[in-house]
Symmetry: C2
Subunit: 333 residues, 2 copies
C-alpha cells in the first residue's frame, strides 16, 4: 500500500484536521465525535441540511458544507457509516428551529444510523425528515444495500436542496425538491482498478490487466459485469444507455450531465468520456443544459468513472445555478 | 495501460472536444491548430494572457481560461510542448491592442516555441512580453530543462497576473506582478507511482513497492532522491524545508500554502499533508493567509503531491482574492 498517510487508523482524523486548517473561514470541525458544520451555523429560520457517510469519497460530503449546500457533514471511518452520535451532535449544531433534513445515500449502515439519529433528535424536539438517495441503476440489491445504491445523484441533491434551504424554503418544500431530484436522477459507474482502504492495507478487489468492471459501486462492490477493456466511447454507452432507459428520458427533454471521476482518473479522460456522452444525448435530441466534470464522489484512488444524468426543469436549473460556497463547489450567478 | 480513451494518438483532441461541449459558456475551442480562448476574447483594452505547454497536467492550462485568469491556452501533445503555430493563432485571437503576456513554464521546448511565437507575433505588430516560471527547488537543470522547472507556482502566477490584467493594468504592470509571483514562490514535488503517457503505452519510470521519489518533475523526471516510503509528516518536511529555505522565509511573514495532487492521490491524503505543512509553518511563526488544496497541476494519474509556498503581500492577496471564473477555479469575493 502506497499512501501519503501517517497512521492508517488515523487518516480520517488527520484529514479533518487538515480541512479545519485549510478552511477556517468556511467550516468548524469537531473531532470527537467527528462532524463538520458551516462556520455560521445555526442560521436563524433556516432548515438545516445534514449528510454523511463513510469517508473515502472526498470531496463528498465534507467538501460540500457551506453556504447554499450542506449545513453539516458526518464522516465515518473509511467506507464505514458514521455512528448515530456525531449525527445527533451535528443535528443539534445546525438546528435553528426550522427542522433538519438528512440526505442519506442508500447503504444499510447509513440508513440505520441516520434513522437512529433522527429518533434521538426527535426526543430533543428537533423535527427531522430524511431523503434516501438511490440513483445507481447498476444493481438492485448489493453487498451493502437493500435496493439501489446512492451515488453521484447525491452531489446534485445536496446542491439543489441546499439552494432551496438557503432561500428559506420550509422543511416540507426542501424535502419535496430533494425527492424530486432523487426521482429524476440516475447513475452508473465503472472501474479500471480497485482502491485500497488504509486500515485494510490491500486492494478491495482484483481486476485483470485488461479488464474493467461495469456497474461497480463506490466501495468497489461488484457491479453488473466484468469484461475486457473497451474504447472510451463504448464504455460511455454501457453506462449511459441504462441510465437513459431507466430514467425514461425522451426526445426534447433537458438534462444536467455529470461525468465523475472515481479518484485516480485523469481529468483528460473524463473529458474524453464527456465528449461522447454529450454527443450521444444530442443525437437523441436531449439537451444538455448544465454540466459537471471532475472528481466529486470518489473511491479513494480507484481509476474509473460514473455518469449521472438529472432530468431538469425550470426550478431545478434555477436552484442548481444558485450561489454556493463550499470547499469543493463554489460559484455565484 | 488502462485508460478511458479511444485512440491513444487522439486523446488531446478528443478531450478538447469534451471541454468545448462542457463549457460553451466559457470557452471557444479551436482544434486545428489546438488552442482555447475565453468566449469573450478579445477584450477591448485588456492585456491578453496566454499560456500553454504539454497536455497531461490538467486542469492546467485549459481549465484556467476565463474571466480573471488566462485569455488563451495552447495544449501540446501529452508532455510535449505546443508548436509556435497555435501560440501565434491564440495570440492573435486574444490581442486587443494592449499587448500580450506569455506565461511559460521553464522547459526547453516551451521556452523555445513561445519565443518563436513571440517573434512571429511581433512581426504582426503585437507586443508580447514573456515571464518564465521556474519555481521548482528540487533540481537546478533537469531532463527537459536548463535551470529550474516551472511547476505549481504557475497556477498562482496565472491567477494573480490574470486578476491584474482583468482590472485593466497595462502590460508592463502585469509583467511586473507576474515576475513578483515567480520571485516569491517555490515548490517541490514527490511521487509514489509513475504515470503512463497514452501514446507511449508504458510507465514513464519505475518505483519499487516501498519506494518514493522526492523532487520529481511533473513529467516524471528524476528528482533528488529515491528512497523508502515515509509517513506523511516526514514527506511534507522533505518538501517544505527546502522550499522555505530557498524562499528565505522568516518569522512573521505571510504565505499562501498550496498542496497539490499529482492526479492519482485521494483528496484525503492531500489534507493529511496540508495539516502538517500548516502546523510546520505556524511553528515557525509564518502565517498561512490563503490556501489551495487539490489537483491543480497534475501528471496524468501519477500518485504523489507537490507543495508550493507563495510569499504574500497586500497586493498579491488582493489579486488572489479577485473574482475568477474558469472551468477549474471559480469564485467571487
Amino acid at each position: 500500500m502506497k499512501k501519503i498517510i501517517n497512521d492508517p487508523t488515523k487518516v480520517v482524523d488527520e484529514a479533518l484536521e487538515g480541512v479545519a486548517a485549510a478552511h477556517p473561514d468556511l467550516l468548524r470541525v469537531n473531532l470527537d465525535p467527528p462532524y463538520v458544520v458551516r462556520r455560521d451555523a445555526p442560521r436563524p429560520g433556516k432548515v438545516g441540511l445534514v449528510s454523511g457517510g463513510g469517508s473515502g469519497h472526498e470531496p463528498l460530503h465534507v467538501g460540500y458544507v457551506g453556504m447554499g449546500m450542506l449545513d453539516a457533514a458526518c464522516p465515518g471511518a473509511v467506507f464505514t457509516s458514521p455512528t448515530p452520535d456525531p449525527i445527533v451532535e451535528a443535528t443539534k449544531a445546525v438546528d435553528a428551529g426550522a427542522g433538519v433534513l438528512y440526505i442519506v445515500k442508500n447503504y444499510t449502515g447509513d440508513v440505520l444510523n441516520f434513522e437512529t439519529a433522527a429518533e434521538l433528535a426527535a426526543a430533543e424536539d428537533i423535527e427531522v425528515q430524511t431523503v434516501v438517495i438511490n440513483d445507481d441503476v447498476a444493481v438492485e440489491d448489493s453487498l451493502y444495500t437493500a435496493g439501489r445504491r446512492g451515488v453521484g445523484g447525491t452531489v446534485l441533491a445536496e446542491k439543489i436542496a441546499g439552494a432551496a434551504a438557503e432561500r428559506g424554503a420550509p422543511l416540507a418544500d426542501v424535502v419535496k425538491v430533494c425527492r424530486r431530484v432523487n426521482d429524476n436522477v440516475r447513475s452508473m459507474g465503472m472501474a479500471l482498478t480497485p482502491c485500497t482502504v488504509p486500515h485494510a492495507g490491500k486492494p478491495t478487489f482484483e481486476l485483470g490487466e485488461n479488464e474493467m468492471e461495469i456497474g461497480i459501486g463506490i466501495h468497489g462492490e461488484p457491479g453488473r459485469e466484468r469484461m475486457p477493456l473497451e474504447p472510451a466511447d463504448a464504455i460511455v454507452e454501457r453506462l449511459l444507455v441504462p441510465v437513459i432507459s431507466d430514467l425514461g428520458l425522451s426526445s426534447g427533454e433537458r438534462v444536467l450531465l455529470f461525468v465523475n471521476g472515481m479518484g485516480g482518473t485523469p481529468l483528460m479522460e473524463l473529458y474524453v468520456a464527456y465528449r461522447h456522452a454529450a454527443r450521444f444525448l444530442a443525437d437523441r435530441n436531449i439537451t444538455v443544459e448544465r454540466s459537471l466534470v471532475g472528481n466529486y464522489i470518489t473511491s479513494l484512488e480507484m481509476a474509473g468513472m460514473s455518469i449521472t444524468v438529472l432530468r431538469l426543469d425550470e426550478e431545478l436549473v434555477d436552484l442548481w445555478d444558485a450561489p454556493v460556497h463550499t470547499a469543493a463547489l463554489r460559484w455565484r450567478a
